[in-house]
């Protein structure tokens, strides 16, 4: 930003938001955003980042109320407006791009109609086909004139998100609030959307507030980064400053949790659990998880202090701590290739779905091996067939052709037709932690089941082992009596891992196990998986779209493009010098930290 004084387009001062029941959600948040500035609002789930961002639209979710402070957007206060005054503001002065475009677009409305609605709300009489076309052109969807006549379900996830961006921009608002707009999109699509947003900012000078839990994304996008923890700003400064010289131990921990394929290193999760609403401690909210905590951290709330002009931090010890030069664990030692015969050998695998009548198989001619004790990563965009391969190996999808040999013997397609020993030795952990545990069963009985079925233990023996398994995945044994609803996403994924470990498997298939988790939780789960792999000599097939994760956990990588393997090799070789064009594109699109960060 130039040194010329410009009036901020967003001014938030001492904003406090609480639940109707009284618990504070956001406390004393103040920040400003200049025209054309992109500000990243970063934090874990429950940090209050989305609540803060939504208040810029004068919106609070049901059960949440704005308690005090001021929020001004474009010079006008958005608090205490009635419905009519708010409608005039939203879309015209400040617009919103939601996290899940599939859920945000009305499925019964054509794209053109949806954009027209925004125009009609703010421009009397306006809203011609021409203005819809130009709105779509701005997000590079204008090439096909019939596009405006399509329904949301006819578009890809990336196109849907571009449509919501077009809707957010159509009235040229000076401010846009983006709520994790690329979460759930694969890297290539994410990269295109981010480029789109940067271009819109450069062309129209739109200020953006970008909410995310992923510092790597925000490092590429934002001019300034605001880190929130337990409803308060803990650090606020220029993006490069915050990433490269974080002053707050929490920010530092977030940076360390990001897997980066260019600088592979052992990941370090943040210990402990994120503070929930209603359990804020008296002193510094991060103190219980902080490596640098002292007694005084627990006694009084630190204030937000300016370290250098424009860089604020809320930590009592910022002056004495030198977070930057601390030793970081470097990349893990690569394991020597095993000479043993492969544990899993897949050859000529082809898989189809009945619903797909185009004749293109979901997976075609895929062959690879997994050696004992090694971790093989399967990488590709959504729809590349990587999950299907995992499901075939787990016996959940019957391949159309090809063989899967486990420990030297070919296995049947259906899990039920496989011998008990094979079913026990191959275990799978699923992507979505919120759907992978039976909500009607206590954690204990979810884990007892494989012990009884696959290891033929008696009920008493199985019950005894549950505690041990939970401790193995670093959960307290008493968690066994809880229901899945009572657990966080990270805890559920650990339970799902414990359920797989209960079978004492030799091969663990991890299907996007961390993609639904916060970055800090992801780091902790990956750390756990690596430890388990070392201790139990597990072989892993790690399915993911995140190249940073691949660099951190895998020995070998298989790159999958439209159901076919396009490149395979040792992780270091493939990531450093990709030979296939598709791999190069994936690498170029993957968000990563600037070089100075670690």
């Amino acid at each position: 930003m130039s040194a010329v004084q410009t009036a901020p387009v967003i001014r938030v001062d001492d904003l406090s938001i609480r639940l109707q029941t009284g618990e504070p959600v956001v406390a004393g948040v103040s920040f400003e955003v200049l025209p054309g500035e992109i500000v990243g609002l970063v934090g874990e789930s429950g940090s209050g980042k989305t609540t803060t961002a939504l208040s810029l639209l004068g919106y609070t979710r049901p059960g949440v109320v704005i308690d005090g402070g001021t929020v001004e957007v474009g010079g006008e206060s958005v608090i205490d407006r009635d419905g009519r005054a708010l409608r005039g503001l939203r879309g015209k002065t400040v617009s919103y791009v939601p996290q899940d475009p599939g859920g945000a677009l009305n499925p019964s409305m054509r794209i053109g109609g949806a954009i027209m609605d925004v125009l009609r709300a703010h421009r009397a009489g306006a809203g011609s086909d021409e203005s819809i076309r130009s709105a779509l052109e701005r997000v590079e969807l204008g090439s096909d004139p019939r596009f405006a006549h399509r329904y949301p379900h006819q578009l890809s996830g990336g196109q849907q998100q571009r449509v919501t961006i077009a809707m957010a921009c159509v009235c040229d608002p000076p401010v846009a609030v983006l709520d994790e707009p690329t979460t759930g999109l694969d890297v290539l699509t994410q990269d295109r959307i981010l480029a789109e947003l940067r271009r819109l900012r450069d062309e129209d000078g739109m200020a953006m507030v970008y909410v995310t839990h992923d510092l790597a994304v925000v490092a590429q996008m934002a001019d300034r980064i605001i880190v929130m923890y337990a409803g308060r700003i803990v650090e606020n400064g220029p993006a490069a400053e915050v990433i490269e010289r974080p002053r707050h131990p929490y920010t530092r921990a977030l940076v360390e949790a990001i897997p980066d394929f260019r600088h592979p290193r052992a990941l370090r999760g943040i210990g402990g659990v994120s503070v929930g609403v209603g359990d804020w401690p008296d002193g510094c909210a991060f103190a219980p998880r902080c490596q640098h905590q002292q007694l005084r951290c627990h006694e009084a709330l630190p204030v937000l202090e300016e370290t250098v002009p424009g860089h604020h931090v809320r930590c009592m010890r910022w002056m004495e701590l030198d977070l930057h030069d601390r030793d970081l664990p470097v990349g893990r030692a690569s394991r020597a290739a095993a000479a043993a015969p492969p544990l899993l050998a897949v050859s000529g695998l082809e898989a189809r779905y009945r619903s797909n009548r185009s004749g293109h198989p979901a997976v075609a001619a895929v062959s690879f091996t997994v050696e004992p004790g090694r971790c093989v990563a399967l990488v590709g965009e959504s729809g590349s067939g990587k999950t299907t391969i995992g499901r075939c190996i787990a016996g959940l999808h019957v391949p159309a052709a090809g063989t899967i040999a486990f420990d030297g013997a070919a296995v049947a397609g259906h899990a039920r037709q496989r011998p008990l020993e094979v079913r026990r030795r191959i275990q799978i952990v699923f992507q979505n932690p919120f759907e992978s545990l039976n909500p009607r069963q206590r954690v204990r009985s979810s884990i007892v089941r494989p012990l009884r079925i696959l290891r033929r233990l008696s009920r008493a023996e199985a019950e005894r082992e549950v505690g041990e398994l939970l401790e193995r995945v670093q959960l307290p044994a008493r968690l066994g009596d809880r229901f899945p609803v009572e657990l966080s996403g990270g805890e559920r994924q650990r339970v799902a891992i414990a359920r797989a470990l209960a079978a004492q498997p030799d091969l663990l298939i991890c299907d996007e196990v961390t993609s639904a988790l916060d970055v800090s939780v992801q780091a902790a789960v990956l750390e756990l998986l690596q430890e388990l792999q070392r201790e139990l000599h597990l072989s892993m097939l790690f399915i993911t779209h995140n190249l940073g994760v691949v660099a951190c956990v895998a020995d070998t990588v298989l790159v999958l493009d439209q159901g076919r393997l396009c490149e395979t090799g040792a992780v270091g070789d493939v990531l450093a010098s990709p030979s296939h064009d598709y791999t190069r594109r994936l690498l170029a699109a993957a968000p990563c930290l600037p070089d100075g960060a670690v």
Partner: protein, 282 residues
């Protein structure tokens, strides 16, 4: 209080449950308290309430209160039997179709579509005309009307649940389909099924009442709430109690069952709410 009775914590659940218990008690215990023989005349036809007949007499001079106390068992019993039978058949079809992911699904569902194409009451009347008026025909007929709709709802719920990780984990363990459905699928589709069950049971009552009312179900001189309405409706001005009280009992039962069903579904739904509600403040 045990989790399964959690629905009683909500006011509408407690009220609904109270109503159901009251109507069921009247139906089950009523005969022991009836002052008169429900089939024997006790006075002049269609006389108003008196000390001898607190709700008056019907068109043949029989005691309305005694007939009311006797008349609940049949309509409730038949409706319950028909609904249970309908669920046994409908849920089996729905679970099999939703879980199979093979040609079993379209085969079962197209059959169900054909069944749904018949107008329910007409179907029942044709069945009675063909097979004669008997209680078994009535119960089977009502069940046959209900089962297709139930199977559709169960199938949809099953389809959604069976792609979840815990179901697939069961399949990958190589468990039998019965075990996976019973343990992993069924408990997780109960909430939508139960909301529907309240409606289905009341619909069964109404169909049976309609058929009785038309004179094709239970035959006089049996006492039955629906039959009472049918017999006395022409004389509603002379002794309204003979029509209104049995009608009110059917109405009360309908309301009570629906309140209870909704409350149970809500209390089940609670353990459904994922922890993402936490991210109200995400």
């Amino acid at each position: 209080m045990r989790a399964r009775f959690r629905f009683l914590h909500s006011r509408s659940g407690a009220i609904g449950f109270g109503i159901v218990v009251f109507v069921l008690l009247v139906a089950i215990l009523g005969p022991y308290f009836a002052p008169h023989d429900p089939r024997a005349p006790v006075g002049l036809p269609l006389s108003g309430p008196s000390g001898k007949a607190p709700l008056g007499t019907d068109f043949l001079g029989r005691d309305v209160l005694s007939r009311l106390l006797y008349g609940g068992r049949s309509v409730i019993g038949f409706a319950a039997a028909a609904t249970v039978l309908a669920y046994a058949v409908g849920m089996s079809i729905g679970l099999a179709a939703g879980y199979s992911r093979s040609l079993i699904d379209p085969a079962l569902m197209r059959t169900v579509d054909v069944m749904l194409a018949f107008p329910p009451l007409l179907f029942l009347l044709v069945l009675i005309a063909g097979a004669g008026t008997s209680i078994a025909v009535l119960v089977i007929g009502v069940a046959a009307i209900q089962a297709p709709g139930i199977s559709r709802i169960v199938r949809t719920a099953t389809l959604e649940v069976s792609t979840r990780g815990y179901v697939e984990a069961g399949i990958a363990r190589g468990e039998r389909a019965f075990a996976v459905i019973g343990r992993e699928v069924l408990p997780n589709i109960l909430a939508p099924v139960l909301v529907d069950a309240g409606l289905r049971f009341t619909y069964s009552i109404l169909i049976i009442a309609s058929v009785n009312f038309l004179g094709l179900g239970l035959q006089p001189p049996n006492s039955d709430w629906a039959l009472m309405i049918s017999e006395n409706r022409t004389y509603i001005q002379l002794n309204p109690w003979a029509v209104l009280v049995p009608a009110a009992m059917i109405g009360l039962l309908t309301i009570g069952i629906n309140l209870t069903g909704d409350a149970i579904a809500r209390s089940l739904g609670r353990s459904y709410v994922p922890r993402t509600t936490r991210s109200v403040v995400g």
